[in-house]
Subunit: 218 residues, 2 copies
Amino acid sequence: MPRSKGPRSATTGGRAPVPRRRARLDVEERRAQLIEVALTIFSGRAYDDVSIDDIALAAGISKGLLYHYYASKRELYVAALESAAQRLLEETSTDTSVPPALRVHLGLNAYLDFVERHRVAFVALMRGGIGSDHDVSRILEQTRRTFVERIVEDLPRVVDVPMAPLSPLLLVALKGYIGFVEAASISWAEDSSVPKERMVELLASMLLNTLATTARSS
Amino acid sequence: MPRSKGPRSATTGGRAPVPRRRARLDVEERRAQLIEVALTIFSGRAYDDVSIDDIALAAGISKGLLYHYYASKRELYVAALESAAQRLLEETSTDTSVPPALRVHLGLNAYLDFVERHRVAFVALMRGGIGSDHDVSRILEQTRRTFVERIVEDLPRVVDVPMAPLSPLLLVALKGYIGFVEAASISWAEDSSVPKERMVELLASMLLNTLATTARSS
């Protein structure tokens, strides 16, 4: 008997709008599917407002089966956050053949696109809504570090700003700049009366200001 | 019989290096004393590394008595944080008769003094180490808002920067600037190889940059 015709699993429940072949998803596919579902749900609602039942229902599986793949809501959230951070880094990555000023513009535009798509989750996460979690902190810090590294790698290509790269002051200032981008983006996500293009201009100007100020004071 | 000669309270324990008259402290005094103790302890160690026993021992009272004043470690932490935020705002407040540029310098210097004194607690708090707590978020947000309001109130006094005060762009940018100060301060608190005076210059320059950029793009 083909497995796709097997008896209706009790775990999928009567309401599940999901084809039965889902039951055959292997572990990796299932985890990827659950991360997608979690990303969609956590993007629109705060962590505390999402129950594991919501996620199981949306995924068309039982809570018990969900716990088989992720031991807790938090574990699934961390996996989804890791995936989201990876996407943010990919989406904001630009081709090194593009001139630096345009790369900054494209990268910031992609960053704000991302913020727009994950508005609620972004604000909640950045405000510490998910709470004390070393994994969450680690993912946030790693993402910030990658942004700083990208800027530093691009520095030799940024003309008209003489500087001593990698001075302690420059590194502190670039971390400050990432803080500027995050805080301004939170504010914008909560009340987006500023057009996105203006936000990109503001953030791009502030990056140049950061580099110029650091160069002057080095 | 004078109350100060009353029987030794079982709650103070044998080790308590505290005079027995402490037992007479009224509720308000006792809460203030506990906040002081909590501030000292939380300033040097991360929230998760401090136990309620540590605080009771340092305060020279029993854990039971401590719970009489604060229902939990978190409640005491929130009270201490509220007190710390109040002090930060007081210490960074400057006399309006002082010229704006000097006020900015003095205010930022006081801010970094505060960060230096509460290094561990500052980094842990800003990294979300205390976790998901609406009271903590509220205190942080209120403090940020007060800083933004102070800058906005001072704007008419800042010369050479024509601008449209209170435009949405300016407010987003000022929130971004507070994010810059916080993120740069976290980095500096973790590795203070940048002299404090350089930090003050950086943060002061970035404030002027923020105002100038916003004025240009308005």
